[in-house]
Amino acid sequence: MDFKPSVFFEALGSNALIQGVQLTVALTVVAFVVGVLIGLVVAVLRDNRLWPVRTLAWTYIWIFRAVPTLVQLVFIWNALPQLIPALRGAWFSPFLAASVALSINEGAYAAEIIRGGLLSIDEGQRIAARALGMPPYKVFSKVVAPQLIRVVIPPTANDFITLLKITSLASFISLRELMTNTQTEIASSFRFAEWYAAAAIYYLVLVSIFMIGQAWLERRYVWTSARRPGAIARLAGR
Protein backbone atom coordinates (compact mmCIF):
# COMPACT_ATOMS: atom_id res chain seq x y z
CA MET A 1 0.00 0.00 0.00
CA ASP A 2 1.22 3.39 -0.92
CA PHE A 3 -0.46 5.85 1.44
CA LYS A 4 2.00 8.37 2.83
CA PRO A 5 0.69 9.90 6.07
CA SER A 6 3.14 12.76 5.68
CA VAL A 7 1.60 13.71 2.33
CA PHE A 8 -1.87 13.35 3.83
CA PHE A 9 -1.11 15.70 6.74
CA GLU A 10 0.62 18.12 4.45
CA ALA A 11 -2.53 18.14 2.31
CA LEU A 12 -4.71 18.74 5.36
CA GLY A 13 -2.71 21.80 6.34
CA SER A 14 -2.21 23.12 2.83
CA ASN A 15 -3.31 26.60 1.85
CA ALA A 16 -5.02 25.12 -1.18
CA LEU A 17 -7.51 23.14 0.89
CA ILE A 18 -7.97 25.77 3.59
CA GLN A 19 -8.80 28.40 1.01
CA GLY A 20 -10.96 25.90 -0.86
CA VAL A 21 -12.94 25.20 2.31
CA GLN A 22 -13.55 28.89 2.81
CA LEU A 23 -15.03 29.23 -0.66
CA THR A 24 -17.08 26.06 -0.21
CA VAL A 25 -18.56 27.39 3.04
CA ALA A 26 -19.21 30.83 1.54
CA LEU A 27 -20.93 29.35 -1.51
CA THR A 28 -23.03 27.02 0.64
CA VAL A 29 -24.17 29.79 2.98
CA VAL A 30 -25.00 32.22 0.18
CA ALA A 31 -26.91 29.62 -1.84
CA PHE A 32 -28.72 28.40 1.28
CA VAL A 33 -29.84 31.80 2.52
CA VAL A 34 -30.92 33.03 -0.91
CA GLY A 35 -32.45 29.63 -1.70
CA VAL A 36 -34.57 29.57 1.46
CA LEU A 37 -35.81 33.11 0.78
CA ILE A 38 -36.75 32.10 -2.77
CA GLY A 39 -38.35 28.95 -1.36
CA LEU A 40 -40.46 30.93 1.09
CA VAL A 41 -41.81 33.15 -1.67
CA VAL A 42 -42.42 30.30 -4.12
CA ALA A 43 -44.10 28.17 -1.41
CA VAL A 44 -46.53 30.99 -0.63
CA LEU A 45 -47.17 31.67 -4.34
CA ARG A 46 -48.02 28.00 -4.84
CA ASP A 47 -51.23 28.76 -2.91
CA ASN A 48 -52.02 32.09 -4.55
CA ARG A 49 -55.61 32.85 -5.46
CA LEU A 50 -54.70 33.51 -9.11
CA TRP A 51 -54.04 30.42 -11.14
CA PRO A 52 -51.33 31.93 -13.41
CA VAL A 53 -49.30 32.74 -10.29
CA ARG A 54 -49.80 29.23 -8.93
CA THR A 55 -48.76 27.75 -12.27
CA LEU A 56 -45.66 29.93 -12.41
CA ALA A 57 -44.57 28.78 -8.96
CA TRP A 58 -45.30 25.17 -9.85
CA THR A 59 -43.28 25.48 -13.08
CA TYR A 60 -40.31 26.90 -11.19
CA ILE A 61 -40.25 23.95 -8.84
CA TRP A 62 -40.77 21.52 -11.70
CA ILE A 63 -37.92 22.80 -13.86
CA PHE A 64 -35.29 23.35 -11.23
CA ARG A 65 -35.84 20.05 -9.53
CA ALA A 66 -35.97 18.11 -12.80
CA VAL A 67 -32.92 19.52 -14.58
CA PRO A 68 -29.63 18.25 -13.08
CA THR A 69 -27.83 20.82 -10.97
CA LEU A 70 -24.70 20.40 -13.08
CA VAL A 71 -26.64 21.28 -16.23
CA GLN A 72 -28.05 24.38 -14.54
CA LEU A 73 -24.57 25.36 -13.40
CA VAL A 74 -22.85 25.08 -16.77
CA PHE A 75 -25.83 26.65 -18.48
CA ILE A 76 -25.56 29.76 -16.33
CA TRP A 77 -21.77 29.90 -16.59
CA ASN A 78 -21.28 29.01 -20.28
CA ALA A 79 -24.57 29.48 -22.11
CA LEU A 80 -26.01 32.62 -20.51
CA PRO A 81 -23.08 34.91 -21.48
CA GLN A 82 -23.54 33.73 -25.07
CA LEU A 83 -27.21 34.66 -24.92
CA ILE A 84 -26.80 37.85 -22.90
CA PRO A 85 -23.77 39.96 -23.89
CA ALA A 86 -23.97 41.97 -20.65
CA LEU A 87 -22.80 38.89 -18.75
CA ARG A 88 -19.49 38.67 -20.66
CA GLY A 89 -17.71 41.08 -18.32
CA ALA A 90 -15.12 40.01 -15.81
CA TRP A 91 -17.57 40.75 -12.98
CA PHE A 92 -19.55 37.66 -13.88
CA SER A 93 -17.25 35.43 -11.85
CA PRO A 94 -17.46 31.67 -11.30
CA PHE A 95 -18.46 32.40 -7.69
CA LEU A 96 -21.36 34.58 -8.80
CA ALA A 97 -22.46 32.07 -11.44
CA ALA A 98 -22.30 29.20 -8.95
CA SER A 99 -24.16 31.24 -6.32
CA VAL A 100 -26.94 32.02 -8.75
CA ALA A 101 -27.23 28.44 -10.00
CA LEU A 102 -27.21 26.83 -6.58
CA SER A 103 -29.56 29.44 -5.06
CA ILE A 104 -32.14 28.88 -7.77
CA ASN A 105 -31.76 25.15 -7.41
CA GLU A 106 -31.97 25.27 -3.62
CA GLY A 107 -35.01 27.53 -3.88
CA ALA A 108 -36.97 24.82 -5.66
CA TYR A 109 -36.24 22.24 -2.96
CA ALA A 110 -36.77 24.67 -0.11
CA ALA A 111 -40.14 25.69 -1.60
CA GLU A 112 -41.41 22.13 -1.39
CA ILE A 113 -40.14 21.68 2.17
CA ILE A 114 -41.74 24.93 3.29
CA ARG A 115 -44.98 24.18 1.50
CA GLY A 116 -45.18 20.82 3.25
CA GLY A 117 -44.51 22.60 6.54
CA LEU A 118 -47.23 25.16 5.94
CA LEU A 119 -49.72 22.41 5.10
CA SER A 120 -48.88 20.61 8.33
CA ILE A 121 -49.88 23.55 10.52
CA ASP A 122 -53.45 23.22 11.78
CA GLU A 123 -55.75 25.80 10.20
CA GLY A 124 -57.13 26.45 13.70
CA GLN A 125 -53.83 28.10 14.63
CA ARG A 126 -54.28 30.86 12.06
CA ILE A 127 -57.95 31.24 12.96
CA ALA A 128 -57.18 31.59 16.67
CA ALA A 129 -54.48 34.17 15.96
CA ARG A 130 -56.83 36.17 13.74
CA ALA A 131 -59.60 35.92 16.32
CA LEU A 132 -57.28 37.53 18.87
CA GLY A 133 -56.99 40.47 16.51
CA MET A 134 -53.52 39.90 15.11
CA PRO A 135 -52.82 41.58 11.79
CA PRO A 136 -51.63 39.22 9.02
CA TYR A 137 -47.90 39.76 9.49
CA LYS A 138 -48.15 38.94 13.19
CA VAL A 139 -50.23 35.85 12.49
CA PHE A 140 -47.30 34.71 10.39
CA SER A 141 -44.36 35.85 12.51
CA LYS A 142 -45.75 35.00 15.95
CA VAL A 143 -47.86 31.92 15.31
CA VAL A 144 -47.16 30.29 11.94
CA ALA A 145 -43.40 30.83 11.60
CA PRO A 146 -42.32 29.32 14.93
CA GLN A 147 -44.34 26.19 14.19
CA LEU A 148 -43.11 26.13 10.60
CA ILE A 149 -39.47 26.31 11.67
CA ARG A 150 -39.87 23.32 13.91
CA VAL A 151 -41.29 21.05 11.21
CA VAL A 152 -38.87 22.17 8.51
CA ILE A 153 -35.67 21.82 10.54
CA PRO A 154 -35.01 18.11 9.82
CA PRO A 155 -35.69 18.16 6.04
CA THR A 156 -33.93 21.52 5.66
CA ALA A 157 -30.87 20.24 7.49
CA ASN A 158 -30.81 17.30 5.12
CA ASP A 159 -31.04 19.71 2.24
CA PHE A 160 -28.24 21.87 3.60
CA ILE A 161 -25.89 18.89 3.75
CA THR A 162 -26.74 17.98 0.17
CA LEU A 163 -26.12 21.58 -0.84
CA LEU A 164 -22.74 21.65 0.91
CA LYS A 165 -21.67 18.62 -1.05
CA ILE A 166 -22.96 19.68 -4.45
CA THR A 167 -20.94 22.88 -4.23
CA SER A 168 -18.19 20.54 -5.44
CA LEU A 169 -19.94 20.65 -8.83
CA ALA A 170 -18.57 24.18 -9.12
CA SER A 171 -15.22 22.58 -9.93
CA PHE A 172 -16.72 22.14 -13.42
CA ILE A 173 -16.72 25.91 -13.86
CA SER A 174 -13.26 26.25 -12.29
CA LEU A 175 -14.41 27.93 -9.08
CA ARG A 176 -11.49 27.38 -6.72
CA GLU A 177 -13.47 25.65 -3.98
CA LEU A 178 -12.42 22.59 -2.02
CA MET A 179 -12.84 20.00 -4.80
CA THR A 180 -11.21 22.10 -7.55
CA ASN A 181 -8.16 22.78 -5.41
CA THR A 182 -7.88 19.13 -4.46
CA GLN A 183 -7.81 18.12 -8.10
CA THR A 184 -5.33 20.82 -9.01
CA GLU A 185 -2.95 19.52 -6.35
CA ILE A 186 -3.42 15.96 -7.56
CA ALA A 187 -2.62 17.01 -11.10
CA SER A 188 0.87 18.05 -10.03
CA SER A 189 1.55 15.45 -7.29
CA PHE A 190 -0.37 12.37 -8.50
CA ARG A 191 -1.09 11.56 -4.82
CA PHE A 192 -4.76 10.65 -5.27
CA ALA A 193 -5.41 8.80 -2.03
CA GLU A 194 -3.85 11.37 0.32
CA TRP A 195 -5.50 14.43 -1.25
CA TYR A 196 -8.95 12.88 -1.69
CA ALA A 197 -8.79 11.62 1.88
CA ALA A 198 -7.87 15.10 3.09
CA ALA A 199 -10.76 16.62 1.13
CA ALA A 200 -13.12 14.00 2.55
CA ILE A 201 -11.99 14.87 6.08
CA TYR A 202 -12.86 18.50 5.46
CA TYR A 203 -16.36 17.65 4.22
CA LEU A 204 -16.79 15.34 7.20
CA VAL A 205 -15.78 18.08 9.63
CA LEU A 206 -18.03 20.68 7.97
CA VAL A 207 -21.07 18.41 8.05
CA SER A 208 -20.33 17.40 11.66
CA ILE A 209 -20.16 21.01 12.83
CA PHE A 210 -23.42 21.62 11.05
CA MET A 211 -25.06 18.60 12.68
CA ILE A 212 -24.17 19.95 16.11
CA GLY A 213 -25.88 23.19 15.17
CA GLN A 214 -28.95 21.27 14.00
CA ALA A 215 -29.20 19.33 17.26
CA TRP A 216 -28.98 22.58 19.21
CA LEU A 217 -31.68 24.17 17.07
CA GLU A 218 -33.99 21.17 17.43
CA ARG A 219 -33.66 21.28 21.20
CA ARG A 220 -34.72 24.92 21.17
CA TYR A 221 -37.94 23.90 19.46
CA VAL A 222 -39.04 21.26 21.93
CA TRP A 223 -42.26 22.58 23.40
CA THR A 224 -42.35 20.98 26.78
CA SER A 225 -41.25 22.19 30.15
CA ALA A 226 -39.71 18.79 30.88
CA ARG A 227 -36.22 20.23 30.74
CA ARG A 228 -36.96 22.24 33.82
CA PRO A 229 -36.30 20.42 37.08
CA GLY A 230 -39.41 19.16 38.80
CA ALA A 231 -41.71 19.54 35.81
CA ILE A 232 -42.12 15.81 35.29
CA ALA A 233 -42.94 15.31 38.95
CA ARG A 234 -45.55 18.06 38.74
CA LEU A 235 -47.03 16.46 35.64
CA ALA A 236 -47.32 13.19 37.49
CA GLY A 237 -49.49 15.02 39.98
CA ARG A 238 -47.09 16.16 42.70
Binding site: I127, A128, A131, G133, M134, P135, Q147
Partner: protein, 272 residues
Protein backbone atom coordinates in the same frame (compact mmCIF):
# COMPACT_ATOMS: atom_id res chain seq x y z
CA UNK B 1 -61.82 28.74 41.98
CA UNK B 2 -61.83 31.78 44.21
CA UNK B 3 -63.27 35.22 43.60
CA UNK B 4 -64.34 36.60 40.28
CA UNK B 5 -63.16 35.85 36.78
CA UNK B 6 -63.87 39.32 35.44
CA UNK B 7 -62.44 42.48 36.99
CA UNK B 8 -64.60 44.02 39.75
CA UNK B 9 -64.81 47.23 37.75
CA UNK B 10 -65.98 45.38 34.67
CA UNK B 11 -68.66 43.53 36.63
CA UNK B 12 -69.93 46.82 38.13
CA UNK B 13 -69.97 48.43 34.72
CA UNK B 14 -71.85 45.51 33.20
CA UNK B 15 -74.40 45.64 36.01
CA UNK B 16 -74.87 49.39 35.64
CA UNK B 17 -75.34 49.68 31.88
CA UNK B 18 -78.80 49.28 30.38
CA UNK B 19 -79.48 45.88 28.88
CA UNK B 20 -81.79 47.06 26.16
CA UNK B 21 -79.17 47.34 23.43
CA UNK B 22 -77.73 44.46 21.51
CA UNK B 23 -74.02 44.01 22.08
CA UNK B 24 -73.69 42.03 18.90
CA UNK B 25 -76.32 41.50 16.29
CA UNK B 26 -76.66 39.72 12.95
CA UNK B 27 -79.22 41.08 10.50
CA UNK B 28 -80.35 38.93 7.61
CA UNK B 29 -76.99 37.20 7.22
CA UNK B 30 -76.45 34.95 4.21
CA UNK B 31 -73.43 32.80 3.50
CA UNK B 32 -72.70 30.42 0.68
CA UNK B 33 -69.86 27.92 0.16
CA UNK B 34 -69.61 26.90 -3.45
CA UNK B 35 -73.17 25.94 -4.37
CA UNK B 36 -74.23 25.48 -0.75
CA UNK B 37 -76.32 28.03 1.13
CA UNK B 38 -74.91 27.53 4.62
CA UNK B 39 -76.66 30.49 6.24
CA UNK B 40 -80.05 31.70 5.01
CA UNK B 41 -81.18 34.95 6.46
CA UNK B 42 -79.96 34.61 10.02
CA UNK B 43 -81.02 37.44 12.33
CA UNK B 44 -80.03 37.23 15.94
CA UNK B 45 -78.94 39.63 18.64
CA UNK B 46 -77.74 39.28 22.18
CA UNK B 47 -78.32 41.85 24.93
CA UNK B 48 -75.68 42.98 27.36
CA UNK B 49 -75.18 40.39 30.06
CA UNK B 50 -77.33 37.87 28.25
CA UNK B 51 -76.39 34.33 27.29
CA UNK B 52 -77.72 32.81 24.12
CA UNK B 53 -77.31 29.11 23.44
CA UNK B 54 -77.44 27.83 19.87
CA UNK B 55 -78.44 24.22 19.34
CA UNK B 56 -78.82 22.26 16.17
CA UNK B 57 -77.69 19.20 14.25
CA UNK B 58 -74.21 19.14 12.73
CA UNK B 59 -74.16 20.84 9.36
CA UNK B 60 -76.91 23.26 10.38
CA UNK B 61 -74.51 26.22 10.05
CA UNK B 62 -73.96 26.98 13.77
CA UNK B 63 -70.17 27.11 13.61
CA UNK B 64 -70.16 29.01 10.34
CA UNK B 65 -72.54 31.55 11.86
CA UNK B 66 -70.28 32.01 14.87
CA UNK B 67 -67.28 32.56 12.60
CA UNK B 68 -69.19 35.14 10.62
CA UNK B 69 -70.14 36.92 13.83
CA UNK B 70 -66.49 36.78 14.89
CA UNK B 71 -65.53 38.47 11.60
CA UNK B 72 -63.44 35.45 10.64
CA UNK B 73 -65.50 34.72 7.52
CA UNK B 74 -66.91 37.30 5.12
CA UNK B 75 -70.68 37.19 4.72
CA UNK B 76 -72.38 37.34 1.35
CA UNK B 77 -75.35 39.43 2.44
CA UNK B 78 -76.63 41.07 5.58
CA UNK B 79 -75.08 43.10 8.37
CA UNK B 80 -73.24 42.55 11.60
CA UNK B 81 -73.42 45.22 14.28
CA UNK B 82 -71.23 45.54 17.34
CA UNK B 83 -72.65 47.88 19.97
CA UNK B 84 -74.80 49.50 17.33
CA UNK B 85 -72.06 50.13 14.80
CA UNK B 86 -71.83 48.13 11.61
CA UNK B 87 -68.62 46.06 11.45
CA UNK B 88 -66.75 44.05 8.84
CA UNK B 89 -67.34 46.54 6.07
CA UNK B 90 -66.61 50.13 5.17
CA UNK B 91 -68.22 52.51 2.76
CA UNK B 92 -66.44 53.14 -0.50
CA UNK B 93 -68.07 55.22 -3.23
CA UNK B 94 -71.54 54.70 -1.84
CA UNK B 95 -71.18 50.94 -1.48
CA UNK B 96 -70.26 48.73 1.44
CA UNK B 97 -67.19 46.61 0.78
CA UNK B 98 -65.41 44.17 3.12
CA UNK B 99 -62.68 45.71 5.23
CA UNK B 100 -59.11 44.64 4.52
CA UNK B 101 -57.80 41.98 6.91
CA UNK B 102 -55.59 44.48 8.76
CA UNK B 103 -58.63 46.56 9.76
CA UNK B 104 -60.86 43.57 10.42
CA UNK B 105 -58.21 42.46 12.90
CA UNK B 106 -58.78 45.60 14.95
CA UNK B 107 -62.54 45.04 15.14
CA UNK B 108 -62.00 41.44 16.20
CA UNK B 109 -60.22 42.52 19.39
CA UNK B 110 -63.65 43.34 20.86
CA UNK B 111 -64.94 39.83 20.24
CA UNK B 112 -63.62 36.88 22.22
CA UNK B 113 -63.67 33.44 20.61
CA UNK B 114 -63.29 29.98 22.07
CA UNK B 115 -63.01 26.99 19.78
CA UNK B 116 -63.98 23.37 19.95
CA UNK B 117 -60.39 22.21 19.55
CA UNK B 118 -58.97 24.93 21.85
CA UNK B 119 -56.43 26.08 19.22
CA UNK B 120 -53.87 27.04 21.82
CA UNK B 121 -50.48 27.93 20.39
CA UNK B 122 -48.36 24.81 21.04
CA UNK B 123 -45.05 26.67 20.99
CA UNK B 124 -46.04 28.94 23.88
CA UNK B 125 -46.59 28.21 27.56
CA UNK B 126 -50.05 28.71 29.04
CA UNK B 127 -48.90 32.09 30.34
CA UNK B 128 -47.52 33.14 26.94
CA UNK B 129 -50.72 32.02 25.23
CA UNK B 130 -52.66 34.41 27.43
CA UNK B 131 -50.06 37.17 27.12
CA UNK B 132 -49.67 37.17 23.36
CA UNK B 133 -52.83 39.14 22.63
CA UNK B 134 -51.84 41.80 25.15
CA UNK B 135 -48.28 42.20 23.91
CA UNK B 136 -48.78 41.72 20.17
CA UNK B 137 -52.23 43.21 19.67
CA UNK B 138 -52.72 45.66 22.53
CA UNK B 139 -49.03 46.65 22.49
CA UNK B 140 -48.81 46.26 26.25
CA UNK B 141 -45.49 46.13 28.09
CA UNK B 142 -44.19 42.64 28.83
CA UNK B 143 -44.29 43.03 32.61
CA UNK B 144 -47.85 44.40 32.66
CA UNK B 145 -49.06 41.71 30.28
CA UNK B 146 -47.42 39.05 32.41
CA UNK B 147 -49.17 40.15 35.58
CA UNK B 148 -52.55 40.48 33.86
CA UNK B 149 -52.18 37.06 32.24
CA UNK B 150 -51.09 35.46 35.52
CA UNK B 151 -54.10 37.00 37.17
CA UNK B 152 -56.46 35.68 34.53
CA UNK B 153 -54.98 32.16 34.72
CA UNK B 154 -55.43 32.30 38.48
CA UNK B 155 -59.10 33.17 38.03
CA UNK B 156 -59.79 30.19 35.79
CA UNK B 157 -58.05 28.01 38.34
CA UNK B 158 -54.77 27.49 36.48
CA UNK B 159 -52.33 29.65 38.39
CA UNK B 160 -50.20 26.58 39.03
CA UNK B 161 -50.02 25.70 35.35
CA UNK B 162 -48.74 29.00 33.93
CA UNK B 163 -45.37 27.62 32.82
CA UNK B 164 -46.81 24.49 31.21
CA UNK B 165 -47.05 24.01 27.48
CA UNK B 166 -50.43 23.04 25.97
CA UNK B 167 -49.23 19.48 25.30
CA UNK B 168 -48.71 19.10 29.04
CA UNK B 169 -52.24 20.11 29.96
CA UNK B 170 -55.49 18.13 29.96
CA UNK B 171 -58.20 19.08 27.48
CA UNK B 172 -60.20 20.83 30.18
CA UNK B 173 -57.17 22.81 31.29
CA UNK B 174 -56.35 23.74 27.71
CA UNK B 175 -59.87 25.00 27.14
CA UNK B 176 -59.71 27.09 30.31
CA UNK B 177 -56.42 28.61 29.10
CA UNK B 178 -58.17 29.37 25.80
CA UNK B 179 -60.99 31.09 27.68
CA UNK B 180 -58.43 33.10 29.66
CA UNK B 181 -56.64 34.03 26.43
CA UNK B 182 -59.88 35.49 25.04
CA UNK B 183 -61.04 37.12 28.31
CA UNK B 184 -57.80 38.93 29.03
CA UNK B 185 -58.49 41.12 26.00
CA UNK B 186 -61.65 42.45 27.72
CA UNK B 187 -63.99 41.54 24.86
CA UNK B 188 -67.49 42.97 24.68
CA UNK B 189 -68.89 39.57 23.86
CA UNK B 190 -67.64 35.99 24.08
CA UNK B 191 -68.43 33.48 21.34
CA UNK B 192 -68.07 29.80 22.25
CA UNK B 193 -68.01 27.22 19.45
CA UNK B 194 -68.88 23.86 21.01
CA UNK B 195 -66.35 24.45 23.80
CA UNK B 196 -66.85 21.06 25.46
CA UNK B 197 -67.40 18.80 22.45
CA UNK B 198 -63.77 17.70 22.18
CA UNK B 199 -63.44 16.95 25.89
CA UNK B 200 -63.51 13.67 27.75
CA UNK B 201 -66.79 13.53 29.73
CA UNK B 202 -65.10 13.93 33.11
CA UNK B 203 -63.45 17.20 31.95
CA UNK B 204 -66.60 18.90 30.69
CA UNK B 205 -67.63 20.12 34.14
CA UNK B 206 -64.58 22.26 34.86
CA UNK B 207 -65.07 24.20 31.62
CA UNK B 208 -68.81 24.64 32.11
CA UNK B 209 -68.19 25.88 35.65
CA UNK B 210 -65.99 28.68 34.34
CA UNK B 211 -68.60 29.58 31.71
CA UNK B 212 -71.41 29.60 34.27
CA UNK B 213 -69.42 31.90 36.53
CA UNK B 214 -68.77 34.21 33.57
CA UNK B 215 -72.48 34.33 32.82
CA UNK B 216 -73.27 35.12 36.46
CA UNK B 217 -70.81 38.00 36.38
CA UNK B 218 -72.63 39.55 33.46
CA UNK B 219 -70.53 38.57 30.47
CA UNK B 220 -72.42 38.66 27.19
CA UNK B 221 -72.13 35.25 25.56
CA UNK B 222 -73.22 33.24 22.55
CA UNK B 223 -72.64 29.55 23.02
CA UNK B 224 -72.95 26.90 20.33
CA UNK B 225 -73.32 23.72 22.33
CA UNK B 226 -74.71 20.24 22.68
CA UNK B 227 -74.86 20.58 26.46
CA UNK B 228 -78.61 20.65 27.05
CA UNK B 229 -78.09 21.18 30.79
CA UNK B 230 -76.00 24.28 30.23
CA UNK B 231 -78.49 25.71 27.74
CA UNK B 232 -81.39 25.10 30.13
CA UNK B 233 -79.74 26.40 33.30
CA UNK B 234 -77.53 29.24 32.09
CA UNK B 235 -78.90 30.61 28.83
CA UNK B 236 -81.49 33.39 28.79
CA UNK B 237 -82.69 32.25 25.40
CA UNK B 238 -82.12 29.13 23.38
CA UNK B 239 -81.96 29.11 19.61
CA UNK B 240 -82.45 26.16 17.30
CA UNK B 241 -80.69 26.17 13.93
CA UNK B 242 -81.45 23.83 11.10
CA UNK B 243 -80.35 23.93 7.46
CA UNK B 244 -78.93 27.41 7.79
CA UNK B 245 -81.99 28.97 9.40
CA UNK B 246 -83.10 29.82 12.89
CA UNK B 247 -86.25 27.80 13.39
CA UNK B 248 -86.84 28.43 17.07
CA UNK B 249 -85.80 31.17 19.49
CA UNK B 250 -87.32 30.98 22.95
CA UNK B 251 -86.59 31.12 26.67
CA UNK B 252 -85.27 27.76 27.94
CA UNK B 253 -88.49 26.77 29.75
CA UNK B 254 -90.51 27.15 26.59
CA UNK B 255 -87.77 25.78 24.32
CA UNK B 256 -87.34 22.57 26.26
CA UNK B 257 -90.85 22.31 27.71
CA UNK B 258 -92.97 23.13 24.73
CA UNK B 259 -91.04 23.59 21.47
CA UNK B 260 -93.14 24.93 18.59
CA UNK B 261 -91.27 23.18 15.83
CA UNK B 262 -91.46 19.50 15.10
CA UNK B 263 -87.78 19.49 14.14
CA UNK B 264 -86.78 20.96 17.50
CA UNK B 265 -88.81 18.26 19.24
CA UNK B 266 -87.09 15.54 17.19
CA UNK B 267 -83.65 17.01 17.82
CA UNK B 268 -84.21 17.22 21.56
CA UNK B 269 -85.42 13.63 21.67
CA UNK B 270 -82.32 12.53 19.79
CA UNK B 271 -79.77 14.29 22.02
CA UNK B 272 -81.43 13.48 25.33
Amino acid sequence: MTGHILDEAVIRELAATPITDYVIEARDVWKRYGGNEVLRSISLGVHRGDVKAILGPSGSGKSTFLRCLGLLEPIDRGEIHLEGARVGVHEARGRFVPLPERLLARQRTDIGMVFQRFNLFPHLTALRNVMIGLTEVRGMREADARSMANDMLERVGLGQRASFYPSELSGGQQQRVAIARALVMHPKVMLFDEPTSALDPELVGEVLTVMEELAREGMTMIVVTHEIGFARDVAGRVVMMDEGRIIEDAPPDEFFGNPHEERTRKFLEAVR
